[in-house]
Symmetry: C2
Subunit: 293 residues, 2 copies
């Protein structure tokens, strides 16, 4: 069936698409895209029912190096293979990790928090917003949304949709291997008290299709058999050459990106018959990815 | 396969679940839940591949009466039956509506904006946040997130995830029948310039599973044949009695809900070894639904 684009469809130009078009014109700027090294791309293959789908994370090497090293090591050991997303709440998180005996849990290596760093030693970033609801300052560094307090001289990764973070117990340094991916409106109240160590750069639609394990009262419970399974967790660089693909992410420290932010603040398209406030929610700025084969 | 809950799983108590528990204790408060009248519940049946799933909207009768009347009338006429979600962007919107010839489009009734109202005539609401990033004030009224400017004496529905709104062309009053559902971080910059006339109260997981029509550069394009189809759009009260079910939504003007907001600001659970800022994003406050059979 062919769908004819109606005027309405064409006319409802999203600001997102508009921004894309604007950037597409900047073809002369060579640093608009950044190629993510294959050894910082983690490919998670998930299996729901009859479908198999890949989700790719960029690991936050520069922000949470110990978590990245630990997670990578566990993935190499096959720790996550055949584990399940056992705690999936729509609009909040999808959490996964293998079943473990009490003995296994006790001997599991725990990780100290890596949830913030000194602002004055921060990697370069594009400023998104001064005085955000949750922080003095927000920005985007290497594709990652960050927030900061100059007063405290601290910066941290922000809990935007699609971040990869370690779950933990009540003790701050109790994380071992179970992780979550945020799938709804940014739970920013978790900033600084959970370690974010990656973000989805491909396959967020597959993350959104993970079976919810939590249902509302009165609805049919979801059987554990139907929980979404992780079939493999492998660094892109460890995949057979024929299965590897290259992912580029917008260079968020480029002039093109700064212009995109300015355009999103200004909203000059005629669609905006009345202008919104000139503010930006750092978690609502799309950072584009593309596949290069 | 049985999944044994490990300590980690049990310990990572989400603040959301915690809030639920707190509220569950308030069983004496009779007005904790509000039954949504069956004639303001719109049941959209969607079909993706082999699955058929219902999504239920509560229509925003008190905020956008003309849009609700128009949408209801169109649904009764079968206007949306067999139409498709033709513009689905992860983290932004899922947009649908029937194909129309130019003649049909020209004779289609257009709708004037109903995107705000006088603040001093606002229905009652619970205050969520003074000085939000996008507005002077936010709150929740009848389950709907609202924002307001006292200075301008205006209030409006906020573009949180899961709102139902009319698409339009560049002209403000050009909406006819195509609609969108927000599926990602709240695009609050659309507040006041688009008419929100409902919100998802059941099946947001199904909305999230709608096939994305937009793919990133370099990825395999999605064929129109695989677009998610709307098989029917029917008021709950118009369904055969055997298919009807009752939905209750948290009474957001109750004491229990006010306490829930206070608890979310205070974060007294020991999980919060360091307290987040005492602020709330109106789009990150879950309003629970339940099914009563």
């Amino acid at each position: 069936m062919k769908i004819i684009l109606t005027t309405l469809q064409v006319l409802f130009i999203s600001p997102l698409l508009f921004a894309l078009n604007v950037n597409a014109e900047n073809t002369t700027e060579t640093n608009k895209w950044r190629t993510v090294p294959a050894d910082t791309l983690m490919v998670m293959s998930i299996d729901y029912g009859d479908k198999q789908a890949p989700v790719v994370f960029e690991l936050a090497q520069q922000f949470a190096p110990k978590h990245v090293a630990h997670f990578t090591e566990l993935a190499k050991q096959g720790h996550y293979d055949n584990s399940k997303f056992y705690r999936v709440i729509d609009g909040f998180v999808a959490q996964a990790g293998p079943e473990q005996s009490e003995t296994e849990q006790k001997k599991a290596k725990t990780l100290a928090m890596e949830s913030e760093w000194s602002f004055d030693k921060s990697p370069s970033f594009s400023v998104v917003q001064q005085q955000d609801l949750f922080a003095e300052l927000t920005g985007i560094s290497n594709g990652f949304a960050i927030a900061a307090s100059k007063q405290e001289n601290k910066a941290w990764l922000a809990h935007c949709p699609g971040v990869l973070a370690m779950a933990r117990g009540n003790d701050k340094d109790s994380a071992t291997s179970h992780f979550y991916i945020t799938n709804g409106q940014a739970p920013r109240y978790l900033d600084r008290i959970m370690t974010i160590f990656g973000r989805v750069v491909y396959g967020m639609n597959h993350v959104q299709a993970i079976t919810r394990t939590a249902v509302i009262d009165g609805d049919t419970p979801v059987s554990e058999d139907s929980y979404t399974k992780i079939t493999s967790m492998t660094l892109m660089s460890d995949l057979p050459k024929t299965q590897q693909f290259s992912i580029q992410v917008e260079n968020t420290e480029s002039k093109a990106f700064a212009k995109k932010l300015d355009d999103r603040r200004a909203r000059n398209h005629e669609f905006f018959y009345r202008k919104p406030p000139q503010v930006l929610d750092v978690c609502q700025v799309p950072v584009q990815s593309r596949i290069v084969r």
